[in-house]
């Protein structure tokens, strides 16, 4: 969680930060501008000023996020092993690498990131891909280092990580380009064959067309269609062949039969100079099928990308102790048995056991628990967790993919690929449809053979073409694309159409507690004690980076902290020092009671056991008691009630202590049986797996600890403020805070499915009409020419006008 997510004290005068535009806390307001809300913003301003990049502040759209620079040196980026893994040397002697940047999202980010060469001499170019947050840096190894560029980006709040998916990315990029080429070629051909078809159809009308011209257009159509059949349509034939060879029935088979059959008969009819030619239908079908597949592949890819981004986010550096010396090495170079030095604020690079030292570990990544836990020699610690206290030495037991985080990430990938077949709904529908048409055509052939053998073949194939599934192929993707676009404007980002389809029917929704139903940070819930002690408490807490210190600051924003001195902190205990002329002790009851008397019995006060108590003692006597808890989101109760009313079964699943989870569940109307606390990431995944099969399973969460469950669920939803990696694993990301968008999502999804069904029904009605006419032998090319575009236009209109996500969706 970055600094930007912690509550910021609002100043009375409404002074705004010059850099990020957020309110400046009263204590930090300067006599005159520039004003800064935090040291991170001040640093970023200074760097931009020195580099002559003040034009950034003229931009109308800037990111209004306080800068949360890590201040790291990024020395490992220049390490030999790192360079070997991630850096390429170009032919012109420059070095090049791809970095994943956290937090890039608007035009000003593009401008700023691409100005890196101006600020960091020796960097030749920086090119940002905004939608994926990946920057390609090129630099001269003689005059610049990668670490200096990384430090510059970090100062501005764009935390750089090596982009670990670069190799797979290059491969997929090539596939993408080839798919686009095929779509373009198939599209160009289909448009031109359609033009010829218009001429042919209108030539059939009264007045007619001379036979020579008719023949000419038919030949032109055939010549144009041949390239489609041998190039863009190839995947269908190859797929059908391999499916026949392996004897697994595949939707490519009916598609290939229809394409091949219609094309062959068209060729025969062209040479015979009689009967329909079908080329227009065949090439358009190829074009539409390719479009549909491309869009679906892209949706699927988002899921795969996510796990790669997560790999990018795990720490890239580790400090290894060898022969008494500390060396920085890339995390990839870790092997079991090494001793790591983990300093304050560092993330662990591998799983292991504490060898030396006492500290507090923030396990939020794995458990979602917001309060750090004390560890000492012999305690197990895990990769990805963060050291919040003193320096530790850790003996590595498992590193990289073997670590617990690595296992979770692998599970995310596995789930993503397992779910892939569901995505191809449109293909499945088209395949079934084509199979049905083939059966009907066979019946027509057989019936007409008995009546008039000369017209049997023509009528059968006329039926196949009159039922060209253009409208059907369009209905689903179009409705979904429009719905996804509207949802995005309402702050709901949906990554794939299958998520909307699944959400349309109520099922089981599993909700994470911390950060999803609650705000995910410690807020002061109770305070008993003298008012004047508050300023002294703030004075002492100013020296602490503990989450509870931020909780005090957020609770009393207008209070000016008292002068403080001699502040000492004890890991797992609290703070001691002088503030406002008194000796203060603040911390856990055990810590404070060992140093002060408690005549009023404040330690035993407070009824709610789910809150974290903190005692305050002044000059050896306990005078105050504070209790911290994680506050519920304001719209949680209302939104959950709305979801229940829509038929969703809700369950609560959290890594937090069972008592806390039950108390929260009770307040929100969960039955005790539906609440589960103390769940590890693996437990969450198991729970989702156990639920699957009983209708749609939706997982709503915010942390990396939910990521595997989110990826495994039918639909994974990430909420605002969650870990970037978890949001990437989700099918749906709610960019508006609170739970109201979740209600909107289910309503919008149900409406979208309704529109899809309406579109499919109408296009099938058109087709049934076509089948009836063809079967009875009434098919007339003019009628077909009018019916085909009319059905497509109707379906497009329905998808466009349909109400899915809009202001009134509540």
């Amino acid at each position: 969680m970055s600094v930007a997510d912690t509550p910021r004290a609002v100043s009375a005068e409404g002074v705004l930060c010059t850099h990020c535009g957020l309110p400046v806390p009263a204590a930090l307001v300067a006599p005159e501008p520039p004003q800064f809300c935090c040291s991170g913003c001040q640093m970023a301003y200074q760097v931009l000023h020195d580099a002559g990049l003040e034009r950034y502040y003229d931009m109308s759209e800037r990111r209004n996020l306080a800068v949360a620079a890590t201040g790291r040196a990024y020395d490992e980026f220049d390490h030999e092993a790192f360079q070997q893994l991630w850096v390429r040397t170009r032919v012109d002697g420059l070095r090049e690498t791809d970095l994943y940047l956290e937090g890039v999202h608007c035009a000003s980010c593009v401008w700023l990131v691409e100005r890196t060469p101006i600020a960091v001499p020796g960097v030749a170019s920086a090119e940002l891909d905004l939608s994926r947050g990946i920057v390609r840096l090129a630099w001269d190894p003689e005059t610049a280092t990668l670490a200096s560029a990384a430090r510059f980006l970090d100062t501005l709040g764009y935390r750089p990580h090596p982009f670990r998916g670069a190799r797979a990315d290059a491969l997929r990029r090539k596939e993408d380009r080839e798919a686009l080429v095929m779509i373009g070629v198939a599209g160009a051909i289909s448009m031109n064959v359609m033009l010829a078809a218009v001429a042919i159809y209108s030539g059939w009308g009264p007045g007619g067309m001379e036979g020579a011209f008719m023949r000419y257009f038919r030949w032109i159509s055939m010549v144009l269609s041949v390239p489609t059949m041998i190039w863009p349509a190839r995947p269908f034939f190859v797929g059908a062949l391999s499916s026949l060879r392996t004897r697994t029935f595949h939707m490519d088979v009916p598609i290939a039969i229809a394409l091949g059959g219609a094309f062959a008969h068209g060729v025969v009819n062209t040479f015979a100079d009689s009967g329909p030619i079908y080329f227009d239908g065949v090439v358009t079908l190829v074009f539409l099928l390719l479009c549909g597949r491309f869009l679906q592949t892209r949706a699927q890819r988002a899921a795969v990308d996510s796990s790669e981004l997560m790999h990018s986010l795990s720490p890239s550096i580790a400090r290894v102790v060898e022969n008494g010396e500390v060396r920085e090495v890339p995390a990839e170079a870790l092997v079991p048995g090494m001793i790591l030095e983990v300093r304050h604020g560092d993330a662990l690079a591998g799983d292991g056991v504490v060898d030396e030292g006492h500290s507090e570990i923030d396990k939020a990544l794995l458990t979602g628990e917001s309060v750090p836990q004390a560890v000492g020699p012999g305690d197990p610690v895990f990769a990805g967790t963060i050291n919040r206290g003193a320096t530790l030495r850790v003996r590595v037991e498992r590193a990289g993919e073997e670590s617990r985080v690595g296992q979770i990430l692998r599970e995310v990938e596995r789930s993503a690929s397992r779910r892939a077949p569901v995505v191809r709904t449109a293909d499945k529908l088209a395949g079934r449809f084509v199979a049905a048409v083939l059966v009907l055509a066979a019946i027509t052939l057989w019936r007409w053979y008995a009546i008039d053998p000369t017209r049997a073949m023509d009528n059968a194939i006329a039926l196949m073409i009159a039922t060209c599934p253009c409208a059907l192929a369009l209905a689903t993707p179009l409705a979904i694309t429009v719905a996804i676009g509207r949802a995005a404007r309402r702050g709901i980002l949906v990554k794939g159409g299958d998520a909307l389809e699944s959400l349309a029917r109520p099922g089981v929704m599993v909700l994470d507690k911390t950060g999803t139903l609650t705000q995910g940070r410690s807020t002061l819930a109770e305070w008993q004690g003298p008012d004047d002690a508050r300023a002294r408490v703030l004075g002492l807490e100013r020296h602490s980076s503990h989450p509870l210190a931020a909780g005090f600051a957020a609770a009393w924003p207008d209070m000016t902290p008292a002068e403080s001195a001699d502040v000492r902190s004890t890991i797992g205990g609290g703070l001691e020092g002088r503030a406002g002329g008194r000796d203060l002790v603040i911390g856990s009851p055990a810590f404070v009671l060992s140093r002060a008397a408690d005549p009023e019995g404040l330690a035993a006060a407070g009824a709610d056991r789910t809150l974290t108590p903190v005692l305050v003692a002044e000059d050896g006597v306990v005078v105050g008691r504070a209790a911290f808890g994680d506050a519920l989101r304001s719209d949680a109760a209302e939104s959950l009630a709305a979801l229940r009313a829509r038929g969703w079964k809700l369950r609560l699943l959290s890594g937090d202590a069972p008592a806390v989870v039950e108390s929260v569940g009770e307040r929100l109307g969960f039955a005790p049986a539906d609440c589960r606390g103390g769940a590890s990431p693996e437990d969450k995944l198991a729970e989702i797996e156990a639920l699957s099969g009983s209708g749609t399973v939706v997982m709503v969460g915010d942390g990396v600890n939910d990521a595997a469950a989110i990826a495994r669920a039918d639909v994974g939803v990430g909420v605002k403020g969650g870990a970037e990696a978890c949001l990437a694993a989700a099918d749906v990301f709610l960019a508006r805070s609170g739970l109201a968008p979740l209600v909107e999502l289910t309503t919008g999804a149900a409406r979208s499915l309704g529109i899809i069904r309406l579109g499919i029904t109408i296009s099938i009605l058109y087709n049934v009409l076509g089948v009836a006419l063809a079967y009875l032998g009434y098919i007339n090319p003019l009628v077909a020419a009018i019916m085909m575009p009319t059905s497509s236009v109707t379906v497009v209109w329905i998808a466009w006008r349909g109400r899915t996500f809009d202001e009134a969706t509540r």
Binding site: D129, S131, Y216
Partner: protein, 52 residues
Amino acid sequence: MTVIYIVLPLALLVVFAAVLAYVWAARSGQFDDTKTPAIRPLIDDDGTRKPD
């Protein structure tokens, strides 16, 4: 109307050229990132320092 025997192949030649141009564009990566390049020209870069 016989002019169509010449005009149509000519038109198809133009289409062929357009398709070739498209294939080149797709293969050389013009469509790899469709978001960022649209933003770049919105911010003009006339000298990096603001006139005081």
